[in-house]
Every structure is written in C-alpha cells, then in structure tokens.
Symmetry: C2
Subunit: 495 residues, 2 copies
C-alpha cells in the first residue's frame, strides 16, 4: 500500500534551529495563475446552451425534475444509448416517506437525501451528460428545446444565468405543489413537509419554541401557544409526522425539557377522515393509538391562518407555535402555464404510454401527469410508488426506442411501443408512532387483501423502507440512525 511506504518521519528536536533561507511559502511569480482571471461577469442576456444533437451523436434525453419519477427514469436509462441531462433546483432526491422522521431527529437529514450523481453516475462522469441546478421556465415543443435559468438563492456573486437545452426526448417530471385551497396565510405561516429544507425549518422551530418557552417570565398562555404543534391534514404524511412528534415528546422532551414537558401538545386537524385511503379497521386502530399517544384529533376546516393562530370554519381560534400543512397537492404554476394537452385536474395529459399526445418526443411522469380523457383511465394518486413505477416503465420504453434507432428527435414513427403502462397498487403503509404502523396491502379500498396494524407492521414498514432507500450508503446511515436513536435517544442540537 502506497501510504505505508510514506510513513511518518520522527525527529527529536534539540534546539530551535531556524534554517537559513527556508521561506515556507511558495511565492508565486507575479500571480501568474491569476493573471488570466478577470472580474468582468457577463451581464448581458445572451442565451447559450446545448445545441441539437447531430445524427452521428448519441441522442439526448432531458429530464425535468429530480423527484421519484425523474430519478427513477434517469437511474434506468442506458447511458450507452442516450446522453442524459437533468434540470432541477435541487441536486438530490428526497426519500419522502422518511422525511417526517428527520424533523424530530430520529433520522439525519442527509440519510434521506440521495445525490443525483449517485443515482445516475453518468450525469457527473460522461462528457455529454449533465446535471444543471436550474429551473425550467418554458418548453418549446415545436423547436424541441427548453429554456432554463440557474438557481442562485440570493447569492450575490453570480447573476441568474439563462440557457437553452435542445432535446431529442423530453421527460417532464416536475411534480406538484402543496394545496392551500386559497386559504390566506398558509404560505406565509405554515410549513409544508415535502423537502429537506422544510424538515430543517420544522426542527429548528420546534427546538426554538421548546427553549424559548423555558425562559423565565414567559406567560402561561404564551408557553402553551409556543408548544402547541398543529398539523393540518390527516393523510399519511400528517399522521406520520404527528406520530413522530408524539414519540419525540414522550421519549425525549419528557427527559430533556423537564421544565416545559407538561405544556407541549399535538393537534391534528382534518376536514374528513384521517388516512381515508386505508381500511376502516386500520383507521380505527390508528385513531385509538394516536389518541393514546396524546395526539388530539380534531375534525375541522381551516378558514384563515394568522401568525400565531388559525381560525376554523366555526369560528374557533386555535393558537399555535408550530403549524405543519399537509393537505394534499395540486399542479404547480409551471405545469399550469405549459401549452400542452391537459388531463382532468390541470395535470399534463398523457396517453397509455405516458406520451403527451400530439406533441412528439415529449413524455410526462409522476404527480404532474394524468391520463387524458380519451384513454378512459382514472387519474392516478400522487404517490411515490406511482411516480417510481412510471419512471421505471418509461426508462424501458426509451431504451427500447433508442435501441431501435429512433432515439433522435422526430424519428420514432416506425417503432413498436409495446405494452402500455399499467399501475398495480402494492398497498399503503404509514407509521403512527410508538413502534406501530399500518400496512394495507389491498389494491383498492373496495377489494380483498391483507391489512394489518401494530408492532409487526412497524417492522415490515422499516424493512420495506430500508431496502428501498436507494444507495448502500444511505441504507447504512438509516440503519445507524435508527440504532443510535434507540440507544442514545434523539439528537436535540439546534444547528
């Protein structure tokens, strides 16, 4: 091993000898390497980018988005057939089912984020494949190109940069955005739970409120407000977050925030039923378990969100210190703005092969797409497993198209597309805290199948997720996080 040959040098120094002429600096003659620098930044709005591919070059697949759908299609695309270009404002995929666990420190943030360069190494290694940290601003399906602008997040040292990418095949996997139902104040005061930065914000706020409520002289009712965590939306995300929060309160807050432990409460507000897609018995079990864990379930409709309280339809005012909003998703503005065929509900319309009809070489997968009415198929739910399955299907389809020599733009007319996409629901899972979970393996609400609840389900849930966390690195980290949480408790440092 090379480093063994290079083992350290020992020296016993007898007197401080300053050797002559040993300037420890490598003084560069007149900064030669710096001379070709210049601080002139191009500020004019010239548009540059990736030109259309030539017939002898590999065709280029452009994937917009880096969620479940986009990452799955990129993972399975064959980089020997296509150059792959991804455009997304984040350079990692979020393993969303485990995101709720990061808010209270059960898992680390990094354990649920998978860098895209690990999902598809070609993006960072092959000359024609790229990942661009940018947003797509427009699609010109006629010219086969997309307009993008870089994400700089207020960094002053670089101006947003516009560029254009020509595609042979385009995959729109831009996802959805949280629904606010037009309720005032949601965007300003509530925190969603879809990205790692949301989980970070929830965690920081929760720990801040725990510490602030401990300060001498804070009024009783202000303490109660600060430590009242309100979750709006009783779907799997809202329920899992409530369960994690009650676990955190029962196991960690009671031990480590002794002075304020009796003030903290969790309220889950839902307009209809919690976990409405689950079997009735499971739902009943979940309701009992959550109530036992101290989560207050309230049926209500939110009318207005103010900085320190929400107002329900019946006029009740609910003061809160932390408000998490998880009431489902709808199409994002970019999807609405695209001049493409639409499906019911405002999603991008696709046919049975996930192609956008009448627009050549454009495909759409994940939460942002739905079947056009002419297919007679229902809109699929906005679930990770739908997106992932669509990505997998589309990668096979695109690889086949490429192998058939129809990878370049406007060349796929002769290709046999094979079987259309069929979604088969594998069931739903949700944790409810205290090492308990629900597993509903029925294909739909009205059908037969296995449905179970309790500790065994919890282990099924953990095993299912740990094998799906994509890289071995993250599998290992999630496992280590779970073990350390069990042994040492949750981490409470507020970074």
């Amino acid at each position: 091993m090379a480093w063994l040959r290079n083992l350290s040098k020992f020296s016993t120094i007898k007197a401080p000898q300053r050797p002559k002429n040993t300037d420890p600096f490598f003084l560069l003659p007149s900064f030669s390497f710096l001379s070709h620098f210049s601080s002139n930044v191009p500020t004019e709005e010239k548009s540059s980018g990736l030109e259309p591919t030539k017939p002898h070059e590999k065709p280029r697949v452009v994937v917009l988005g880096s969620g479940w759908a986009g990452c799955r299609v990129m993972k399975d695309l064959d980089p020997d057939i296509y150059d792959i270009v991804c455009v997304s404002p984040r350079n990692h995929m979020v393993f969303t089912p485990l995101l709720a666990s990061t808010c209270v420190g059960t898992l680390e943030f990094r354990s649920v984020a998978e860098p895209i360069g690990r999902i598809q190494p070609a993006l960072s290694r092959l000359p024609g494949s790229y990942f661009f940290l940018a947003n797509c601003t427009a699609i010109d399906a006629h010219k086969h190109r997309v307009d993008c602008v870089t994400v700089t997040e207020g960094s002053e040292t670089i101006d947003p940069w516009k560029f254009t990418i020509s595609y042979d095949k385009l995959v729109i996997a831009l996802g959805s955005q949280p629904s606010t139902f037009g309720i005032q104040g949601v965007k300003e005061h509530a925190i969603f739970l879809r990205e790692v930065h949301h989980a970070q914000e929830i965690r920081r706020k929760l720990l801040l409120n725990l510490m602030l409520s401990d300060v001498p002289g804070i009024a009783e009712e202000e303490k109660q407000r600060l430590l009242h965590c309100v979750v709006v939306g009783g779907g799997p995300t809202g329920v899992e977050f409530s369960g994690e929060l009650s676990d955190f309160i029962m196991k960690d807050v009671r031990q480590r925030y002794v002075h304020v432990k009796d003030y903290i409460r969790v309220t889950l507000i839902e307009a209809n039923e919690i976990l409405s897609s689950f079997d009735d018995r499971l739902r009943h079990y979940a309701t009992n378990q959550l109530t036992k864990s101290g989560v207050r379930l309230v049926r209500g409709i939110v009318k207005d969100v103010k900085p320190k309280k929400i107002v329900l339809n019946d006029g009740t005012e609910v003061p809160y210190g932390l408000l998490v909003w998880s009431t489902g998703v709808g199409p994002s503005p970019i999807i609405q703005s695209l001049d493409l065929p639409k499906a019911p509900g405002g999603r991008i319309g696709v046919d049975e092969w996930l192609r956008v009809p009448s627009v050549p070489d454009v495909f759409s997968i994940g939460d942002c797409c739905g079947f056009v009415e002419s297919t007679g198929r229902p809109t699929l739910p906005a679930l990770a497993q739908v997106a992932e399955r669509q990505g997998k299907y589309l990668a096979v389809l695109l690889n086949n198209i490429g192998k058939a020599g129809a990878g370049h733009a406007n060349s796929e007319k002769e290709v046999e597309f094979g079987d259309p996409f069929v979604y088969k629901h594998l069931g739903s899972m949700a944790t409810i805290g205290r090492y308990k979970a629900l597993v509903d393996l029925r294909q739909s609400k009205g059908e037969k199948g296995l449905a179970l609840a309790g500790v065994l389900s919890f282990f099924i849930w953990r095993s299912a997720y740990i094998t799906r966390v994509i890289s071995w690195r993250n599998r290992f980290y999630v496992f280590v996080n779970w073990i350390t949480t069990l042994v040492f408790g949750r981490d409470i440092s507020r970074l």
Copy 2:
C-alpha cells in the same frame, strides 16, 4: 417485553364493511383544551427572571457561553452543590477541531455538535438548573445579576424577551470573535469557520459554485472565478480547511464533477508563515505537502475585500468564488463593553485563580480572559485546550468553594483557594490532507520534545480526537462518518 404482548393484529378483509357510528375522530367538545389559550402576547417591557437564591437554597452558578471553556466547567460542576444556569445563543458545543472536515462532507455537521443537555444533564432535568437560548446584554456585578435577551432569529411569532438572572457565582466564558483588522468587506463577503452554520454556508456555496460553473455558456474566466477557493490565514484552521478542500477536490470532485474538475483551485494567503506555532521542520513538511496537493501558498496582506475579488497590499487582484477568513480572534463587543478589569489586549482580566480581581464572585475563562498585568503572567493563546483546562480547573475550585459552604454570593472570604491555575501546553496537532498530519508535542517553540509529521501522525490525530469528542454517541458517529467517507466517498447532496 411489553411490546411483544402488543403484537400486531391480523385481519383478512372480505368485503368493505363500513361499521355504523364509527367516527374515526375524537371530536373534542367545544375545544375545551384550547379555551384557556389566548393569543395576547405580553408586549410591554417588563423585566422578570430568576431572583437571588435564599440561604437555605442551593447557590446558583451562571455560566455565560457554551464553548470549550463554558461547557467544560458545566460538565464538572456538581449539581448537588449548585444550581447551574447557562446562557448562550446556541444549545450545543461545537467540536471546533473537526469543523473543517464538515465543510466538504467528510463528517456530518451533527457529529461535531454536542447538545449542552448531554454535557450537563442537570440543565434539562433538575428544577433549579436551566439552559436559556439568549444573549447576555449587561452584567451588574454590584447587584450580582446579568441582563439577557432571548434569541429568536427573526422568528415573527415571538418578540425578543428580556429577563434578569441573579447569580451567586458568575462564569464569563463568552469567547472571542474573528479578527478582521478593520478590512472593508470581510464581514460582508468572507465566511468565518467557527460555528456549524459557517461550515454549512461554506458547503452550500462550494457545491453551488461547482454546479453553476457547469452550466452551458458560462465564460471561462467566470468558471475560474467561481471555482477559486481562497483561504486567508495560515493558522491550523486555515491549513486544515485547505487540506480538506484539496482532498475533496482530488478524491471527489475529479470523479463527480468531471466537467469542471480542471477549473477548481485552492489558494492559501498568509501574511507571515503558515503554522507559525509549529516546529520549523513540520512547517516545511506541511508546505511541501500542501503544494503537492495543489494548494497554492501565497504570502500577502489583504487590503480590501470586494464581492468577487480581494485586493492585496501590492495591488494584485485575486478573484474568488469562495472566501474563507481565518486570521485569528480578538475580543467581542460585549467583552469590550463590560465595566470590568482588563488584561492586555482587551480581554477580561483575571488573577491566578481565574477570578476577576476586585469584583466578588465573578470568574472568567477561555478566549475572553487574560491574566491582569500584576500577575506577571503572559496572555495564553486562544486555544481549545487552554479553555478546556481552565474550565476543568474552575469547576474543581467552585465545587470546593461550595463544599466549604461559601457557594452563596459574597460568602467566600474565608475559603482557602488552593493552587493557582497553571497552563501546561500539551502540544499542537493539525491535518494537512491526504491522510497526513503534524503532531508537535513540544511545550513551546523554543523547547525540546517530539515533533512528527506524516501518516502515523494522522492516525494519532484521529485517535486523539475521537476519544475527545465528548459523548459516546458522537464518538460513534464520527467513527461511522470516517468509515463511510473512506468506503463511499464524501456526500455531495446540497441540503
């Protein structure tokens, strides 16, 4: 085991039966638990806080700060003798020697942060001990009390809250702040490397620049600017960060940012010698190793810092994409503003027992203190090991005072203080990248002792640190981080 008894329930559902009258919600009658809430927040500036302790109560030690000095004294204080109150704007201690490693993903941020509640569990568990997330704004040594204001970081839902804490013994361990030497633009454009949020900012900026420079159409010289990492200051922090950065470039950037790998450069600017406290031979070794790793060492004095370039004294302009400033520390404004005896250099003056002379019951440790001139002792360097040793000494002293029944304010006149504090330097260590480190075990520059450099030193350095990372949890995590970095490479997701 209780949870085994509670094993999951199986049920095979034959038909979707909706049981009658099973509202899955626990509908609360008229929100009874919410009724005693009110959204009126006290906004008047009334001052409240912790009153002076009574003679029959435990005396109260108030520790200002949660760095090496403050945390060490809290760790060793006996909670059976004293109530311990800590006031600090962060709820964790930063293990500063490993902070540079977190910027490039070798270690996770959380692995180098130790929650104060773990260092001294009494703070979160005993009724009279507290941690307050607040800044100290004034000290009234005559009335034995400190004024504080809560840290809310722009959170709109709570106003900053002022309160007062009466102390029996006060330990001022407020640390120092980075020196900027009055150079314009340092605070605005450079990033320091002293807190976890600094490391997070460096990491985010480094990854942003790596991705932005890959965007099509960015001019060559702008790419070079974006990927030019400049470190100002050649002390251990600056050198370790440069070493980590060159490791990251050589091992990870070359593999995962293939398109831009030839543009990234590291320049270390120092006015004098790098690692000036180390043995000459070690310094020479470090210089060679850094240069081999591609770090450019430049001797120069920074005159001005602009958003995209720095200007040196000789007029040379150095464009940068990332600027890290690590040129030593000086007293912070709160230390300067205190009406207490001072040591040379503006630090709080202390005597041989770390007491502030002529001010009863006030002690100071760490970077913020120095010996008053009358002691004839030199100012100790602003090092973690000085701070930690002082904290340890002071805890023993305070425990002895408490055991002698002189824990309360103004009652220690009769107590024998014992041996004064003596600092014995245990040596210095620094990594320089590529699994190499320097270990200088001489007590001072002019003395005899062991000094070694190379791979063996690197393992000594790692072993020394892993046994000093305070909790078993963090030891375990640092170990796991090092192993995974070795096996899987550094994490590059930008969260």
